[in-house]
């Protein structure tokens, strides 16, 4: 019976437990770490003028566009589940001499279904005094969820649209040249809810549609095979930090079990 608690095994289990404990504090914050994606070298120099023509931008990419005051500038970016995106915009205004009053600028964010998304923090709207040279706007979006009720407008993985516009200014100032700088940073985090997945990202259709006769409709149903293969992985919901916690808990429990067993075999070694 003594052979049950062989020392090398116990040592191995102890090491594994220690290694896990050393990892745990990292496992939590590591996923919530600020890791802006590596910045692509190219600077984006264009902006769209509508949802359909919005210029696609990657988080971390620099955007610098010269425009006219009064233009509506559209960009789009893709966000994955668990991401929290932050927009920072700097507007270089025309020189004070050519302006006639304060100018209010607003940045609006829309999801793939063109539903307006609120900013949880930051100055989404700001007013520049007539003499100010630059104006800064910020917007911190909500964390993107893996799944949401169809009836809610919670942020989901997919395309997001950014619209920058002057929302209040003297009419005389329309058409004057401005320069806008946009940067998007994405902070990765733990996606909620854990074991859910949106089957198709909220990326809108951009091709022209077609109408059918009312009877001749049989739009492609999702293939049954794809359904079945998708099912297993949905249940597993890898990767989730719950896995690490549960595996670590199992290891600790095994360790504690072995320890408890040893305690009953050689109580004198522990208590004398």
């Amino acid at each position: 019976m003594r052979g049950i608690t062989r020392h090398p095994l116990a040592g191995l289990a102890g090491l594994a437990g220690l290694a896990f404990l050393a990892c745990l504090p990292m496992a939590g914050p590591a996923v919530a770490d600020d890791t802006p994606s590596p910045s692509p070298s190219a600077t984006v120099g264009t902006a769209g003028t509508s949802f359909l023509t919005a210029t696609a931008v990657d988080p971390g990419q620099q955007v610098r566009v010269s425009a006219s005051t009064g233009d509506y500038l559209y960009w789009s970016f893709d966000a994955a589940a668990g991401e929290t995106d932050r927009l920072a915009i700097t507007i270089t205004l025309p020189t004070g001499a050519s302006r006639h009053g304060p100018a209010t600028w607003t940045v609006d964010v829309f999801d793939g279904l063109r539903r307006r998304q609120p900013c949880t923090a930051g100055s989404q709207t700001a007013t520049a005094a007539a003499g100010a040279a630059t104006l800064a706007l910020h917007c911190l979006l909500r964390q993107v969820r893996t799944w949401a009720d169809p009836w809610s407008d919670e942020p989901l993985p997919g395309t997001y649209y950014v619209r920058l516009s002057a929302t209040g200014l003297p009419d005389q100032d329309l058409g004057l040249p401005v320069q806008t700088d946009l940067s998007i940073t994405a902070k990765k985090g733990d996606a909620q809810p854990d074991n859910a997945r949106l089957k198709a990202p909220l990326s809108p259709e951009t091709d022209a549609g077609s109408t059918t006769a009312p009877q001749a409709d049989s739009s492609a149903a999702p293939s049954a095979e794809a359904e079945r293969t998708g099912h297993f992985w949905n249940r597993i919901s890898w990767p989730s930090t719950r896995w690490w916690w549960t595996i670590g808990g199992g290891l600790l429990a095994a360790l504690a079990g072995v320890g408890g067993y040893r305690l009953t075999r050689h109580p004198r070694r522990w208590f004398s």
Partner: protein
């Protein structure tokens, strides 16, 4: 990337392989083209007032000519550029009736012969009246009709001196005529009335307005607009006409659609959604005219029996270009029924909708305009419809997380070890006794 592009990417690879096999790569290969090139027409005011020398100390005309030359030099090879002048032939001293019909095509819309285009630009002289409305109509005619976006860039230093037709109304009519037309305007003066007219023309077609003060600014803006035509001209929605009630509504497949909606009008469309599918729809209405300051747009999904299933609302106030909203819907009760039992469940709005697989979409708005603003044609409406497989609601978590979990598991392990150990000791003791 989360954008779905599997089949398209595959197709592209196949096409690429084909092209490489052929050895020669045509300029337009690789694009899902319908054969049309991006089409832009520059419309330049050549009226008498262009003589004024107030841009960088040079005359407006010479500044515009230099910028045109530079734009022609930097033109993307695929782009078809046309040039039209207004007020270039009949002098101011002639009769208004004659002067107000004076618009002339300098260079037809087509592949540009650069030396020839530049030579004809150089011959333009500031001369006569400013018939902007007429010139816009002619420019739209020059660009012709087709599936892709057409762009007009209007450069002027004065308001329309001919009165009728009002250029702003002309712009709205042209935009509503079926071809997707965008008019960008550039003003060579800071005059208030010119600005009003040009912003009105731009807003009516989803274009932009720029006040030009320097020659370099004019060149870079013109280049930007011409490039923009090259980048975005293909994304034209399909024209559709919504019905006044659901049963007569057109059935839409996934895609982007364009329509017009007047104030207080309801427009109905239908989409086929089978069980296990999710309907996604979004709508945006462009504010193409002067409106009262607060407004809203409502998009509702309605079942065949008239029950509302889900709605999206958008509301705003103040200066903006479009008002948009969207909705998602999937028949979750149908999914539950499929999984649980085949018995028919209580009839509800959603099961009604799933009954024949048709969901009606209705778009309404709460716009109003000050007196004197035309309400016809309606405001431009853009509708996006998508049908994807639905995402079922997640169940409860099957794994744990947190320090308490570790504590509980460790405690359980310890207790288990102790119990097994005590059992083993007891058994050894019993065995020794025997």
């Amino acid at each position: 990337m989360i954008i779905r592009r599997g089949p398209a990417a595959g197709l592209f690879l196949v096409m690429l392989a084909g092209v490489t096999a052929l050895g020669a790569v045509p300029a337009t290969a690789g694009e899902p083209t319908d054969g049309e090139a991006p089409k832009v027409e520059l419309v330049l005011d050549s009226s008498g007032s262009m003589r004024a020398a107030d841009i960088d100390g040079r005359s407006r005309m010479s500044v515009a000519q230099q910028s045109f030359d530079e734009v022609v030099d930097a033109l993307p090879p695929e782009t078809q550029l046309g040039i039209r002048a207004l007020g270039s032939r009949v002098p101011n001293s002639a009769s208004q009736a004659l002067g107000c019909r004076d618009t002339q095509q300098i260079s037809p819309v087509g592949p540009v012969n650069k030396p020839q285009a530049k030579a004809s630009i150089a011959t333009m002289r500031p001369t006569g009246w400013t018939p902007i409305g007429l010139a816009l109509r002619a420019a739209s005619h020059d660009l012709g009709t087709g599936e892709t976006t057409r762009r007009i860039v209007l450069i002027t230093d004065g308001e329309d001196t001919c009165g009728l037709p009002d250029p702003c109304d002309v712009a709205r009519q042209l935009a509503a005529a079926g071809t997707h037309l965008v008019i960008d305007t550039l003003g060579l003066t800071l005059d208030a009335r010119v600005r009003q007219q040009l912003t009105c023309i731009a807003d009516a077609t989803g274009g932009t307005y720029t006040a030009v003060q320097h020659q370099t600014q004019l060149t870079s803006r013109l280049n930007q607009l011409v490039r923009r035509a090259h980048d975005t001209y293909r994304q034209t929605p399909r024209q559709v006409g919504g019905a006044a009630r659901c049963s007569a509504a057109p059935v839409l497949k996934p895609g982007v659609y364009a329509d017009r909606e007047r104030f207080a009008e309801h427009r109905w469309y239908r989409v086929a959604v089978s069980p296990g599918q999710e309907l996604r729809a979004s709508v945006s209405i462009a504010l193409d005219r002067r409106l009262n300051p607060d407004y809203g747009v409502l998009l509702r999904a309605v079942s065949r029996t008239g029950q509302e299933i889900v709605r999206g609302t958008g509301a705003d106030g103040g200066r903006t270009d479009v008002l948009s909203t969207g909705l998602r819907w999937s028949d979750q009760q149908a999914e539950d029924r499929q999984e649980a039992s085949p018995e028919p469940s209580v009839s509800s709005a959603s099961s009604d909708a799933a009954g024949d697989g048709m969901v009606c979409l209705v778009v309404s708005n709460s716009f109003s305009a000050p007196a004197g603003v035309q309400t016809n044609p309606g405001m431009p409406l853009e509708l996006t419809v998508d049908v994807v497989s639905s995402s079922p609601a997640p169940g409860g978590p099957s794994l744990g997380r947190g320090w308490l979990l570790l504590l509980v598991l460790t405690g359980t392990g310890l207790v288990g070890g102790l119990v097994i150990g005590w059992l083993a000791r007891w058994r050894v003791a019993v065995w020794k006794e025997n």
